[in-house]
């Protein structure tokens, strides 16, 4: 028997960069304005009891608690009809996960194991926003609430216990990591960008995002330097001022179309003496190169080129893949545990019913003996009260454990039998 949560099941219906092209994904994108309507339709048409919608540039997914016999078909039909796409096309380009598979998928997505760039940190933020939106629309009940909270904690565990998000995978991050190896913190550092090449701007953006305070831009065409300076809130300088600024900055990036060295050993040696050998981190992103490689021999100079950065990024990507294998093991064990606990919680209404009926029976019995109890002093009455409560608690203990166990294995029939048996027992004893 497939485990179900009571008479319901957790499902994931969605399409992502792995299954559908952007032309199709954009048709299913659900904007903030459309959220209310979508949640309303899912609940009103009794397609799902609870739902969370995650809509990003790489995926559109609906996490829902649906009637067990429906198995998410209702969501697929609703999506196809509301977006004017044939159901067959949608089925071919989408995926549907149920039960523990669905929980595993949700954990994988939130932990960035299913992302285009494995380990990227944005997805967890998007996930939390989606959950908050669903909560605002009152589309989240007990089951999805518990599942979403668990998802966030699993994603955090994976980020803490593995290095999945730490290894650089882009050229920009590779530049930042190398600069950090020299300077530690990049806060308050000054960078000089020579030229306006695409790669240079990419690395400069990354450096600025990681603490570099000031960007000085030198370009052959001064007006272009001014333009870029406005874009980066930096300072534009003329190319002939290069040497003067090299004495001041901590980081130098070269990304120009020039086919000669703009910085060489003869130029930099006196600069380093003036700097008293304060570290200078140089990155040459140009091809042909603009920074002479032999400057690396100078004391205090750490020079890298585009190949070095690419190698760091490549190694980072390989390392992330290795980490993804470890993260996958965490996802599987956590998903199994979470799904069991969701099942166990499905017994909650039945357990609450049992407890309520037991309390009613206890009150009836106390009421029946009220005449006798009134002869007792308040302290003695308290003892009787506590004793009867303990007796009923003890009587129900094994039944509650059994109900939880049946819930964990998803035995809805067993739960029903237990419920009826106890109910009948209560009625008989009541009669």
């Amino acid at each position: 028997m497939a485990p179900v949560i009571g008479e319901r099941e957790v499902v994931v219906v969605g399409l992502s960069h792995r299954t559908a092209p952007v032309e199709l994904r954009e048709k299913f994108a659900i904007s903030d304005e459309e959220m209310s309507e979508t949640f309303g339709a899912l609940v009103a048409r009794q397609i799902s009891e609870e739902a969370v919608i995650l809509s990003t540039c790489n995926r559109v997914e609906i996490y829902a608690l649906v009637p067990a016999e429906d198995r998410g078909q209702g969501i697929l039909e609703y999506l196809a009809s509301s977006r004017g796409v044939r159901l067959r096309t949608l089925k071919k380009k989408s995926y549907l996960h149920e039960g523990q598979d669905a929980v595993e998928h949700i954990f994988r997505v939130a932990s960035s194991l299913d992302s285009m760039v494995v380990g990227e940190p944005q997805i967890l933020g998007q996930f939390k926003t989606a959950f908050a939106a669903a909560d605002r629309h009152k589309a989240v009940g007990q089951v999805l609430h518990r599942l979403m909270r668990r998802t966030v904690s699993v994603a955090k565990r994976i980020r803490t216990e593995t290095r999945i998000g730490r290894e650089p995978v882009s050229m920009g991050r590779a530049g930042v990591e190398l600069a950090r190896q020299v300077f530690g913190d990049l806060d308050g550092r000054v960078a000089l960008m020579i030229g306006a090449g695409e790669m240079g701007r990419l690395v400069a953006t990354s450096l600025m995002a990681h603490g570099v305070d000031e960007l000085v831009i030198a370009n052959r065409t001064y007006s272009r330097a001014v333009e870029l300076a406005a874009q980066f809130s930096g300072t534009a300088v003329h190319m002939d001022q290069l040497q003067r600024y090299l004495e001041r900055v901590d980081i130098a990036l070269a990304s120009t179309g020039a086919n000669r060295y703009l910085i060489d050993k003869a130029m930099l040696a006196p600069v380093m003496r003036t700097r008293r050998f304060r570290p200078l981190f140089c990155v040459d992103l140009s091809v042909p190169r603009n920074i002479a490689p032999d400057i690396n021999a100078l004391e205090g100079v750490y020079a890298f080129n585009v190949d070095d950065l690419a190698e760091v990024a490549q190694r980072g990507a390989e390392r992330r893949q290795q980490e993804a294998t470890r993260a996958e093991a965490i996802v599987q064990s956590e998903a199994a545990r979470c799904y069991r606990s969701l099942g166990a919680r499905s017994a909650d209404p039945i357990i609450a019913g049992m407890t309520r009926r037991a309390e009613e029976a206890r009150q009836q019995e106390l009421e029946r003996s009220r005449g006798t109890l009134e002869l007792l002093d308040p302290k003695q009455r308290e003892v009787v009260e506590a004793m009867t409560r303990a007796m009923f608690k003890r009587y129900l203990h094994n039944a509650i454990l059994e109900a939880r166990r049946l819930g964990e294995v998803g035995d809805a029939d067993g739960l029903e039998v237990l419920n009826r048996a106890l109910h009948r027992q209560d009625e008989e004893s009541g009669e």
Partner: protein
């Protein structure tokens, strides 16, 4: 009583060091032993020093074995302070073995104070403690500087794999300066107190190799600080000063121990 405690400390340090070599991701539980093992070793180490002082008085700490054990404890304390920064954990790769070697040497050195300590009062304990703190500071600066040179070499030769787990050059340079300044300040106080103590004695002790050695070391580290603070030179030069200074210091200490079987003539 001190010897078994030192041996226990040494075993705990060996355990901590061995576990620190294990791959963090593959065996996270083994890596978790490092911290508790270090602290357990350090507790036993301090207990051993306490036992030495209780059994033989403060002069016993001035014995070759006592001094070595004391310096080793200072080195470990410096590392325990440094490793609050997770990326500086790698400093232990150089500093903990150094502490282990010093403690192992202490186990083979004479534990008795060489000769009677003339005079009285606080002069001798302050002189001794400051000299040993100075030695500990220079030992830590040595360990940090070796790691600096390793990281620098890897950056220069572009051996970048796994480099992000090591501290940055800036962090190591800063730590080196702190430990050198600490060592130099303690050494200065130690020499000054020793001089005052010697002057107060009815019979002045003769100038021996230890005194000359201490003065040479003082001049060396004074030059290192001068170059750093006034000249603004740092990095490889500062690391080189620390490494060479400590190598010279240890060589002269060994020389003194062999030549005179004690600290002073």
């Amino acid at each position: 009583m001190a010897t078994p405690l030192y041996m226990l400390a040494l075993l705990a340090y060996i355990l901590a060091f061995t576990m620190s070599l294990v791959d963090r991701e593959a065996y996270p539980s083994l890596r978790k032993i490092v911290g508790p093992a270090l602290w357990a070793g350090y507790t036993a180490h301090l207990a051993g020093i306490g036992a030495t002082a209780v059994a033989g008085g403060l002069t016993a700490l001035g014995s070759p074995a006592g001094s070595m054990a004391f310096v080793s404890a200072l080195v470990t304390a410096g590392f325990l302070w440094t490793r609050r920064n997770p990326r500086a954990e790698a400093v232990g790769g150089f500093v903990v073995p150094l502490s282990m070697v010093l403690l192992a040497i202490a186990l083979f050195l004479p534990g008795e104070a060489v000769g009677e300590t003339p005079g009285g009062g606080l002069w001798f304990p302050v002189h001794l403690t400051m000299m040993l703190v100075g030695l500990g500071g220079f030992a830590l600066a040595f360990g940090v500087s070796l790691l600096y040179l390793l990281v620098r070499w890897r950056l220069k030769t572009k051996k970048l794999m796994g480099l992000s787990r090591l501290p940055s050059l800036e962090t190591l340079d800063r730590l080196n300066t702190r430990f050198v300044v600490l060592g130099f300040a303690a050494l200065t106080v130690g020499i000054a107190v020793g001089g005052i103590w010697a002057a107060s004695l009815p019979e002045r002790p003769a100038m021996g190799p230890t005194i000359y050695g201490s003065l040479v070391i003082w001049v060396w580290y004074a030059a290192a600080i001068q170059v750093r603070v006034v000249g603004g030179w740092r990095g490889r030069l500062a690391a080189g000063f620390s490494v060479m200074g400590f190598v010279g210091l240890v060589s002269s200490l060994i020389g003194v121990l062999i030549a005179v079987s004690g600290w002073h003539l």
